[in-house]
Symmetry: C2
Subunit: 193 residues, 2 copies
């Protein structure tokens, strides 16, 4: 069985869009899906790349473009008012949720909180609420986040070592695809690979 690895960061609107599609894509292609939290800021720093938010004209286009994508995909979307927000704590919390077997529901809830409900995921209380909404002890989960510092760094460094420069990042084996707009290439690779 082929495996689709999905590296994502809650700060990335295109990662949110991809998160609404990858499960159906994996089901259609019979692929195993691995959800891989990582830190986009770390990827950008390691690759000397820039965030779209650093280039005003690009950032303005991202806001329009991500809304076009949401409309096409038929998913709820509102550009996060607090964007760009720090996700160091949030991505560590995702790894903490994984230890409790709740990575996928936590991930969907966190993306929804940021990209549908407009919450600021840099805030511990927002993350605690996300955790509680999927049956976890919110304050305890957030308090455990520092334990996952090394794991988040390792995941980020792994993605960089394997060639990425942005988010969302997909791997089919070692074949790299970057961007929500490359999911049809991902699907083709899973069908032929």
């Amino acid at each position: 069985m082929a495996t689709l690895e999905f590296f994502y960061d809650f700060v990335s609107p295109y990662s949110y869009l991809a998160s609404t599609q990858v499960e159906a894509l994996a089901a259609r292609t019979g692929a195993a899906l691995r959800w891989r939290p990582f830190l986009l800021g770390g990827v950008l720093k390691a690759t000397d790349n820039k965030a779209p938010a650093e280039t005003p004209a690009k950032y303005a286009h991202v806001k329009v473009d991500s809304a076009r994508w949401a409309k096409r995909l038929g998913v709820p979307f509102a550009f996060a008012p607090s964007h760009p927000f720090s996700t160091v704590l949030a991505m560590r919390c995702a790894l903490a949720a994984e230890r409790h077997g709740k990575l996928v529901p936590f991930t969907h809830a966190a993306f929804r909180a940021a990209w549908v409900e407009g919450q600021d995921l840099s805030k511990p209380e927002a993350l605690a609420a996300v955790a509680a909404s999927v049956g976890l002890d919110g304050p305890a989960l957030v308090a455990s986040a520092p334990e996952f510092k090394a794991a988040l760094t390792a995941s980020t460094e792994e993605a960089v070592r394997r060639g990425t420069f942005g988010a969302p990042t997909f791997f089919v084996g070692e074949e790299l695809f970057v961007g929500n707009d490359r999911l049809d290439f991902v699907e083709a690779a899973l069908r032929t690979g």
Copy 2:
């Protein structure tokens, strides 16, 4: 009748890919197509954006990704061995060709020279050969290029003023789309607008 404006630079592989699609798209939607040479380097400088070639991991992905696109579109493609090459002279030559009523054939021939035949379009002799292949006096066209310095700057500044940050750039009215991978949004805008 709606108008589709297509801003492009020969240095951009995604502009080449778009150049193979825009005429059929305009025909399908009944849109008038305007070919708009501009200078991507000027756009990047004005918007404080970076070229993909400046970020090694991104550049490596562009090489793989542009080939995937060419395969999907069924168009010939070989990543230009001299990339990134200066296109200041080449884009001025495109405007010179426009004065002779040959903008579109010159554009197709230049893209093919760079992205199929592997020629270095920074070289005056390569541009003269492209011009000659579409029935123009090659050396005379290249010699006239300096006359189009101001027009190329104006086109580039216009695209920046209207919001772009990269290439290819499309406008449907003042609605902006950036990237070969946004042509289906362009088509939807032409159908509904």
